[in-house]
């Protein structure tokens, strides 16, 4: 009895001791968990904070750029100012080339006419009667390409001579800055970009409705411009990016998927395939600027492909995207159940049939996702493009992947370097918004396709 009670008390005290230890340990463990959770939440809050900061900065700067000051003018195509020979009419028996020649000559003669005078007359008509402003200052209000726009209208329809039509013109970048308050309105004359008369007239135009702030369609439809910064747009850069992405898809998907299938399904495991695998993984970690150097040395200097061309840009980005696609495809192939393979082989399918009829369709969603994510990455890549001449100023929409072009991220870089800071700070942010929008769209498509196709499979 006594022994028993003794051992009982002993074991009880032992148990109490253990419970105390456990409790003490438990407190510590709870504490560590709490600390870890706290840190985790802090990390997420910090990350979200940075994203929020970035977005508010970009949005607050960029959104105003989507509206722009426009002038609505009544333009008279006055024959007294526009003195010219009539547009060539095709003569009987004239060859195509001959007519084209005559037409070009006529259009060249139009360039030499004083379109600024036409513009000036229209501007003065909207200004208060006898408003005293010299011509030079007056012409700082519309963007400098206004005269080309008036001329182009006329080339399209030579019947305009002697008529008055209303035309919407973009106001100059400095007027846009003034109207939006991007430049401090209280600065003295010497620090202002617009003359005092031009500023007063701009305010008058804004009041009488000649000048309004409208949605800036030009951002999407125009090409980049330095002569007329207010009309600078993303159309050229957008098409350049589209061509590059097409090249990337056409080259990277077949090459990447084919090499992944070969390595995973056909190649015997050997030292050589190990080396290849290690190198593919290494390739994925190579900084993108190295690919740019490689592209400049190989594609341009050795293969003599054109500089600044989306074809070369696309090829460089393909090198960058390939590892992403190969690695993702291999992972997808590895995750296919061996039962599927064995069943196909057991029913007498050849290896090729097994891969292309049974295994590949199952992995399709993952390959597609990898491709879209790879392309989205390539879309945002800037550094390698700078080395193959794609940071040039290109004032036309590329008609083929071989024409000189620039790309959306490069356009952001270029606009960020423009001298007219007041105007281009907003434009740059607007371009960032367009690029981010495209990225989000591509990623959303990837997620949508994946969930949809996975459900079907």
């Amino acid at each position: 009895m006594t022994e028993l009670s003794q051992s009982n008390t002993a074991s009880r005290s032992l148990a109490a001791e253990r419970a105390r230890k456990v409790k003490a340990g438990l407190r510590r463990r709870h504490m560590t968990e709490k600390i870890f959770r706290g840190l985790g939440i802090a990390a997420i809050v910090a990350a979200l904070g940075f994203v929020a900061l970035l977005f508010t900065d970009v949005l607050s700067k960029g959104i105003p750029a989507f509206t722009q000051a426009n002038l609505h003018l009544e333009v008279a195509y006055d024959p007294a100012i526009i003195k010219l020979t009539p547009a060539p009419v095709r003569e009987v028996g004239q060859s195509d080339a001959g007519f084209e020649q005559a037409n070009l000559k006529w259009r060249s003669s139009l360039v030499l006419l004083n379109w600024n005078k036409v513009l000036e007359v229209a501007m003065r008509k909207s200004a208060p009667a006898d408003y005293d402003i010299d011509t030079r200052q007056l012409l700082t209000i519309p963007e400098t390409n206004a005269r080309h726009i008036l001329r182009e209208r006329y080339v399209e329809d030579p019947g305009l001579l002697g008529k008055t039509i209303s035309i919407d013109l973009v106001a100059s970048a400095n007027v846009d800055n003034w109207v939006k308050g991007n430049i401090d309105r209280d600065l003295p004359d010497a620090q202002q970009q617009l003359g005092a008369d031009a500023r007063a007239l701009t305010d008058f135009f804004a009041e009488n409705g000649t000048l309004t702030k409208d949605f800036a369609t030009g951002i999407f439809t125009n090409v980049d411009s330095r002569a007329a910064p207010a009309s600078a747009g993303l159309a050229g850069a957008f098409m350049g990016s589209v061509y590059m992405m097409l090249v990337v898809i056409i080259l990277a998907v077949p090459i990447g998927v084919a090499s992944a299938i070969y390595l995973e399904e056909f190649a015997k495991k050997s030292r050589l395939t190990d080396i290849i695998e290690v190198n593919i993984n290494n390739l994925a970690a190579v900084p993108s600027i190295v690919f740019g150097l490689l592209g400049a040395a190989v594609f341009i200097n050795f293969f003599h492909l054109p500089i600044s061309a989306p074809l070369v840009g696309g090829m460089v980005l393909t090198l960058m995207t390939l590892p992403t696609i190969i690695i993702a495809t291999r992972a997808a192939l590895q995750s296919v159940s061996p039962a599927l393979r064995q069943a196909a082989l057991g029913l007498g399918a050849s290896r090729t049939q097994m891969v292309f009829h049974h295994v590949l369709p199952v992995t399709f969603p993952s390959i597609l996702t990898a491709t879209i994510i790879g392309v989205a990455q390539a879309l945002g890549e800037t550094a390698p493009l700078l080395l193959i001449g794609m940071n040039a100023f290109v004032a036309s929409v590329p008609a083929s992947p071989l024409d000189q072009a620039t790309a959306l991220p490069v356009q952001i870089f270029l606009w960020n370097g423009n001298e007219n800071r007041n105007f281009f700070e907003a434009r740059t942010s607007a371009a960032i918004m367009v690029l981010l929008g495209l990225m989000i769209l591509l990623n959303a498509i990837a997620i949508f396709l994946r969930t949809r196709l996975e459900r079907r499979a």
Binding site: L104, N145, L187, Q191, Q193, F356, G389, A395, R421
Partner: protein, 338 residues
């Protein structure tokens, strides 16, 4: 399978497309000085708008040195046709050109640009002289006839008329032509005036003129917006800009006078403002006739409407050169063709 064969067909088509088009480029390709870039881009755009038969030329950046390097890579479709430069081509570059077969190089001078020193608009006024700038940035300066480590930390220690502000300068990197003009017209001229000690060898003299203090001088290899950003982050900085850049940003910048002269189109054109330089572009003569529109581009660039006084480029900040200089340049260009 079908998708694969379609894709490979597309690749082959694309490659074939590539080789044929590489033979016939019909757009003028330009690269070089970032000072010339805005002017060249404006002319390119206007050229495209005015000549319906030609494409709009493509203008790249990369600094004078970078542009001339590309220019001298050789003759052919995948090399550029025109290099923009904010200084004349060097003999070394000419030799590199010739080595690669670029033998017909034609120089076109089209106007002037001023180099200005500017600081934050809210800061104090600066009226500088080359010798003061030299004393601010050189690693070793002459004191009592001996070269000593630069002792100055604030501007007013150099000259009592200058503000009591920490010395900090943002100057263009060595890839910019502006840097050479800055070195020659400001630093070396300042060193001369400051009077380097007697008995220095040529090398020691050159080193005294070109070695800058790394702690107060920041070299900017990008464009002027980078210099501007530097001024924003450290408002004590005095930055080196092109006159045209300052013109576009005078709401945030305050310009310093040099030798008491305020930089402006008038003072540069009159030769009163000391730190100005002519601007150039170089034509690869061997490409004339192969790439359409080069001659027309040159004539258009030098026309009164573009680089003449009252022309489009003057409004963008170029300082026009005298008309007879333009006529002389054009005559030389045409003479080289024959």
């Amino acid at each position: 399978m079908k998708a694969l064969s379609f894709a490979s067909a597309a690749v082959i088509a694309l490659a074939a497309f590539g080789t044929t088009a590489a033979i016939a480029r019909d757009t003028i390709q330009i690269a070089g000085s970032s000072t010339v870039l805005p002017f060249a881009s404006i002319v390119a755009e206007e050229f495209g708008a005015s000549y319906p038969e030609f494409n709009t030329p493509v203008v790249g950046s990369g600094g004078t040195g970078g542009g001339l390097k590309q220019f001298c890579e050789g003759v052919g479709e995948n090399t550029i046709d025109i290099a923009d430069a904010s200084r004349p081509i060097k003999d070394k570059e000419r030799a590199a050109c010739e080595e690669n077969g670029v033998t017909d190089i034609r120089e076109i001078q089209f106007g002037f640009d001023g180099i200005v020193f500017a600081s934050e608009a809210t800061g104090p006024d600066f009226s500088l002289t080359p010798v003061q700038i030299y004393k601010a940035i050189a690693a070793k300066v002459p004191v009592d006839g001996k070269l000593v480590d630069n002792p100055y930390t604030n501007w007013n220690q150099i000259d009592a008329s200058l503000p009591d502000q920490t010395i900090a300068l943002a100057i263009p990197g060595s890839n910019h032509g502006t840097r050479e003009v800055f070195q020659e017209r400001v630093v070396s001229a300042g060193a001369e005036e400051a009077g380097l000690p007697e008995g220095l060898s040529e090398e020691e003299k050159a080193a005294a003129e070109t070695t800058l203090r790394q702690d107060v001088v920041v070299e900017i290899s990008g464009d002027y917006t980078e210099t501007l950003a530097r001024l924003k982050s450290n408002p004590d900085t005095v930055g080196v800009f092109g006159l045209s850049f300052y013109d576009q940003n005078k709401d945030t910048l305050k310009v310093a006078t040099i030798d008491g002269v305020v930089p402006s189109n008038d003072t540069v054109a009159a030769g009163e403002y000391p730190v100005s330089r002519p601007l150039y572009f170089y034509i690869k003569g061997q490409h004339i006739g192969t790439i359409p529109g080069i001659e027309e581009y040159v004539n258009f660039f030098l026309s009164d409407m573009m680089s003449g006084s009252g022309g489009t480029l003057e409004a963008a900040g170029l300082i026009p050169q005298p008309e007879d200089k333009t006529a002389q340049v054009l005559a030389a260009f045409e003479a080289a063709a024959n």
